[in-house]
Amino acid sequence: MPAPPVDVLQGTLDVLVLKALSWGARHGHGVARVIRDTTSGTLDVTDGSLYVALHRLEERGLVESEWGLSDKGKRARFYTLTPAGRQHLKSEIAAWQRYAQSVSRLLTATTQPA
């Protein structure tokens, strides 16, 4: 039986979306698929909230959107990272790693600190 899905905070969602775009332009559905597939459904993310995240990121100038054709030849809105978005992603990842390491170091400690 899989573990219950974990709530995702807005800031975290933004990073996930940026990361999903880091390999190249994707439409919203593509972003949803990447997140769902790589996390195997561990994270409780509704697809609609991804779109809100995308539009907010566009408002902040971190991603750009353009209409294009999907693999199946349908009109779809594609999102790409802007340079600012790529920069933002980089610093967010670094921050996240520092945070995760610290938390994990404490949680996995076996001896009582001095």
Partner: protein, 887 residues
């Protein structure tokens, strides 16, 4: 579901947020269902799962839409800024490309805006800026009115009764700004100007002390300790700003006063026409037992603070009610008593307001002319740029964009003109202040924030005003005809028509200004030509004031002045020296006069006449001609029969054609104890109440028979003024070390001061008219000159067909004169219509003076002729063979 084609088309122009979101979500749902079906889900289950995974559609759509709208709003603002920056860059580049056009336009606008800003700074400082008092709008000047009396004053006892019985004002205070003291014991003796105020005055108007305290109710009685308050400037200059002055005593008229306070630097004790503030302020109450503070002697200014919610009219009606009571209670002194009340601000600006209004109207006209001129320039320039606009339109520029571009250029021009104009205004205001040192509220006139804001608004409005018509016209360019090489477009002729109309308007405005200037010039000439009734040249006057404490008896005072005169006359070059209680062109003391030949029982109806106490040689020294009888003689001394010389006006008014010589008059009512005096002579009148006022009529009493301690020492001498002043000062010191010699002035200078105000208005209006004239002539020249260029081919044809040179000249000049003639006609009508507003400033000419109107019209026609001559001559030299090949 593909979106309809029209939506996509729409999106090309402007993003449609809702349609985009709809399409985006739609795509997601389809793609996810497809994905799930590919993984083996049934169609229905896939649909349900997709919708479940998506969540609340409406909530997410709202979230996305909000973000999109914020993003697009920001993008739109960014876009606007970019377009503005583009327009600005383009405007600057295109103005730089035509430096001559730009320079002329900027200078023209700078003149117009500068003149406007300068006059507005004066109006702002004098008329708009509130007086430096607490809630100045509630301050009202009040005075009593009497039949025949015309000064806005009130007597002390009536003031007390008004104050006690009235109900419209919070309080009423009174002051006498015309007092002065002789200050001794502090180095050289010095006359100090003083204002005497009631104890409630400072509190009522709201003036603060910077040191010590101000005068209060407890200081305001005859028996109170004698205290004074110093003006800040006087405190600084005379006592070096030393705060230990508080508590020290000053000797004023030989009586000790304790200094209790110093006024704050920006305090104005009162506003009385054209004068500086007093050096010291003392309580009026100390002096109210003097004869001048009787009920029948109005000598005080009254100021009231309106009660909350009370109007001036209501307060006045209440004062009139009290006056009716006072009339019946004191019939002898108060017969005919009434009341008047006018807001303080109105009183302060009363004399300068008409001039400022006229000048403001004048500068608005100048600005209108400047606008018209620049509009004309822009029009011709836009005619030349027609192909540029046509090209841009052809390349897809929207008409609105071109109009906006042209307006941007106009506003940039106007702002440049405005900037230069503010510089002109700063200079102008400085010149104004220098030229008009006696102007009311001079210190308040500065180019401050309000004025700068005004200049900015005027500049922008100006830019839109002169830019709008040409810009709209340019938007209408017909592509095909304008793009043709050499094509001038069909709008060329209509543009010229617009320019011609603008020029007609310019000429009309210039005629109005020139007529106004002409009227003021003629007034001024008449005023300057007024015979003052004496010969002012080579006469030096100085005021002398003996301390009453030092010369208690009439004989002692007389002897001192005798000695002074003798000392002065003994100096070579100063033999012609005399003394009078006033100079012949300054306001005299007035008194009620009874004539033995006319019985007047009602004391209040007695005529008020000027009274002068003079030396026998006064008339001869000042050149006042004798009309009948004799002047005063050295034998008219105390103990001899009392005599009087009257002026012609008195003689004509009270004796008609009969001879007044030998008749009798006395000062005061016929039944009073004063002595009857015999009229021994009649002299010509002098302009005692200013050059523009008819003289009131004067009685001359011999000094030897009267009491007199102060007056004017006047010398007719060919020595330089400075030398005369020095000699007089030395003589005076020999007689009495404590007497200062003040206000040394030649009578010529005094006369010049009389016409200073009218001269100021005249010079300014003439200056503005000159600017208007220059601009109008440039306008005419521009239109005619450009017209000749446009009609080169036509003129060439005419010449080829046999037209003579003078025909061509006549053609061009005729066109100019038609324009000028139309403008002059309209201008004369405008001047006739608006002339009445000048009425208050005119002297000796009517507002419809044909000389001024005719002169202005003729002048403009001549200027138009000259402006048209150069283009006309150029036209006459056109070679038909070259002209017809030009296209």
């Amino acid at each position: 579901m593909p979106s309809p084609t029209w939506r996509r088309y729409l999106r090309f122009w402007r993003t449609d947020v809702d349609a985009d979101l709809h399409e985006e979500f739609h795509f997601h749902v389809e793609a996810e269902i497809e994905y799930l079906i590919a993984r083996g889900w049934s169609a229905d289950a896939a649909r349900d799962e997709t919708l479940r995974r998506f969540g609340d559609f409406d909530a997410f759509r709202r979230g996305c839409r909000a973000a999109d709208q914020r993003r697009m709003g920001r993008a739109q603002r960014q876009e606007n800024l970019t377009v503005l920056a583009q327009d600005l860059r383009f405007a600057l580049r295109s103005l730089r490309r035509q430096p001559a056009f730009t320079a002329i336009a900027v200078i023209t606008l700078a003149l117009g805006i500068g003149a406007n800003t300068a006059i507005f700074s004066v109006i702002n400082g004098v008329m708009l800026k509130p007086l430096p008092y607490r809630e100045p709008k509630r301050l009202v000047m009040v005075w009593e009115t009497r039949p025949g009396g015309d000064r806005p004053l009130i007597s002390y006892p009536n003031y007390l009764d008004w104050r006690k019985r009235q109900r419209g004002f919070e309080d009423i205070a009174a002051y006498n700004p015309f007092a002065s003291f002789l200050m001794t014991g502090q180095g050289d003796a010095q006359n100090v100007d003083a204002t005497l105020v009631t104890g409630n005055y400072f509190r009522l108007v709201g003036i603060q002390a910077v040191l010590g305290r101000l005068i209060g109710p407890s200081d305001d009685s005859p028996g109170a300790a004698r205290v004074v308050v110093l003006r800040n400037g006087f405190f600084q200059s005379r006592f070096g700003g030393d705060p230990s002055i508080i508590g020290r005593t000053l000797l004023l008229d030989n009586i000790a006063y304790t200094v209790v306070g110093v006024l704050s630097p920006d305090a104005r004790v009162s506003y009385r026409a054209g004068d500086a503030d007093p050096d010291v302020v003392a309580p009026l109450g100390l002096f109210v037992n003097d004869a001048m503070y009787r009920r029948d002697s109005p000598v005080l200014f009254g100021v009231g603070r309106l009660g909350p919610g009370v109007s001036v009219e209501q307060a006045l009606a209440d004062l009139q009610r009290v006056s009716v009571e006072l009339r019946s209670e004191y019939p002898a002194e108060n017969s005919g008593l009434g009341a008047a009340a006018v807001p303080m601000m109105e009183m302060v600006v009363k004399f300068i307001k008409p001039a400022l209004e006229i000048l403001m109207a004048a500068v608005v006209f100048v600005l209108l002319i400047a606008c018209t001129n620049v509009a004309g320039l822009v029009l011709s320039r836009s005619a030349a740029r027609q192909r540029e606009f046509a090209l841009r339109t052809a390349l897809g520029a929207a008409r609105g964009r071109i109009v906006r571009q042209l307006l941007t250029e106009s506003v940039v021009l106007a702002l440049a003109g405005g900037t230069l104009g503010v510089g002109i205004a700063v200079l102008g205001v400085r010149l104004l202040a220098a030229a008009q040192p006696h102007m009311q509220r001079l210190d308040d006139i500065t180019v401050n924030q309000t004025v700068l804001l005004y200049a900015l608004i005027v500049s922008v409005v100006t830019g839109l005003l002169f830019g709008l018509a040409p810009a709209l016209r340019s938007g209408n360019t017909e592509l095909a005809s304008a793009l043709k090489v050499g094509g001038r477009g069909t709008s060329g002729a209509s543009k010229q028509r617009t320019r011609a109309l603008l020029t007609v308007a310019e000429v009309a405005f210039a005629v109005v200004l020139l007529t106004g200037a002409g009227l003021l010039m003629r007034s001024f000439a008449k005023l300057a030509a007024v015979d003052p009734g004496f010969r002012p040249s080579h006469v030096v006057a100085a005021s002398v004031r003996l301390s009453p404490g030092k010369y208690p008896s009439a004989e002692q005072g007389r002897a001192a002045l005798d000695q002074l005169l003798a000392t002065v006359r003994a100096i070579p070059g100063l033999e012609h020296a005399t003394i009078g209680s006033s100079t012949p062109i300054s306001p005299h003391e007035q008194a009620a006069v009874s004539f033995q030949s006319r019985h007047e029982h009602d004391a209040i109806r007695l005529p008020q006449l000027n009274v002068a106490i003079v030396e026998p040689n006064y008339f001869e020294t000042l050149g006042i001609p004798l009309a009948a009888g004799r002047t005063l003689a050295t034998s008219d001394v105390a103990g001899q029969p009392k005599v009087v010389v009257i002026s012609e006006r008195v003689a004509r008014k009270f004796f008609a054609n009969a001879s007044p010589i030998g008749e009798h008059l006395k000062l005061g009512p016929a039944n009073s104890t004063s002595a009857w005096r015999t009229i021994v002579g009649v002299v010509k009148d002098t302009r005692t109440d200013g050059l523009s006022e008819a003289p009131r009529g004067t009685l001359y009493l011999p000094r030897a028979q009267e009491e007199m301690l102060s007056g004017s020492l006047m010398v007719r001498s060919t020595l330089p003024t400075e030398q005369v002043a020095g000699l007089l000062r030395r003589s005076l010191r020999e007689v009495d070390r404590d007497v200062p010699l003040e206000s040394v002035q030649t009578m010529d200078a005094a006369m010049a001061q009389e016409v200073e105000g009218p001269k100021f208005s005249m010079v300014l209006l003439t200056l503005f008219a000159a600017v208007a004239l220059a601009l109008a002539s440039v306008g005419i020249y521009g239109v005619i000159s450009y017209n000749v260029t446009l009609r080169t081919t036509e003129i060439g044809v005419r010449v080829a067909l046999g037209a003579q040179r003078r025909d061509v000249v006549a053609l061009v000049v005729g066109q100019a004169m038609a324009m000028a003639g139309a403008g002059v006609g309209i201008g004369v009508l405008l001047a006739l219509w608006g002339g009445r507003s000048l009425h208050a400033m005119l002297f000796g000419v009517g507002p419809r003076d044909p000389m001024a109107l005719g002169g202005a019209s003729a002048f403009l026609l001549v200027v138009a002729l000259i402006a048209a001559l150069a283009p006309a001559l150029r036209a006459s030299r056109i070679d038909p063979t070259i002209a017809m090949r030009a296209d």
